[in-house]
């Protein structure tokens, strides 16, 4: 894992960090812990640091590894996080071509969703973040935004 973190304790620069990891689910926890630590240092509420941020970010990175990169360890996932007065913005970029995030979210409205083993990841990102956006440029990016208020 390559990482670059600046000013995690606050100060004149906005707390931010960037991480590039291989497509290995064992790499997820370290990035999630690093972003959560930034949020704690920036004064986000404890529940947000215990639940919203780690769960939504785990979903985004797991999606990037398993769906975006197809679990191909040779492909990487890039994560960037930035915190300012407005809140947290995290971008997770894989090397895939993306997927229809709105269809994935709509799974939660289908009959039998509660009994399904899969199909909750995108739903949880929307439920736990203020904004979820998907875009394709050089790879596929999921952008998670959580406002401070």
């Amino acid at each position: 894992m390559r990482s670059l973190v600046s000013d995690p304790g606050g100060g004149s620069l906005a707390p931010c960090g960037e991480w590039t990891i291989a497509s290995d689910i064992g790499e997820i926890d370290r990035v999630v812990l690093a972003v959560t630590t930034l949020c704690e240092a920036a004064g986000f509420p404890p529940k947000v640091c215990r639940l919203n941020v780690p769960v939504a970010l785990t979903e985004a990175i797991a999606n990037a590894i398993e769906r975006g990169n197809g679990g191909d360890a040779a492909r990487s996932v890039h994560v960037s996080a930035r915190i300012d007065d407005a809140g947290l913005c995290v971008e997770v970029t894989d090397e895939g071509t993306g997927f229809d995030i709105h269809s994935a979210r709509a799974l939660s409205e289908a009959d039998g969703w509660v009994e399904r083993e899969d199909g909750r990841g995108v739903f949880l990102m929307y439920a736990l973040m203020d904004s979820v956006e998907s875009s394709c440029n050089a790879g596929h990016t999921i952008r998670l935004v959580l406002r401070r208020s």
Binding site: I25, L51, V55, E117, R120, G121, F123, A127, L128
Partner: protein
Amino acid sequence: MSFAIERDDDLLTVAVDGQLVVGNRQELKQLVLDEVEQGAKRVLIDFSNGGYIDSSGLGALVSLNKRIREQGGELRLAGLNEDLRTLFELTRLDTLFHLYGTRSDALVGF
């Protein structure tokens, strides 16, 4: 992240320490299914020392619930903190599982 198991006749208790996520959900599934294969009917998973659960972890619990019921058994979940209860309510999984405040509560009538 680890799982501690206790076995008493057909009662299996699993204590989850830390997160239940994509990286370890298969370990939990296999551990429980091996015990079910060996006769465990009543399965209690205790999250008193648990951290957050992601969609893969929730999916593993759904899968285990189904498999245990197919074998004529029952799965109960205990010790969920406020965060985890929020997660179960958001995903409506509180309608699928028996949720108990403590391990002792879960053992009543089990």
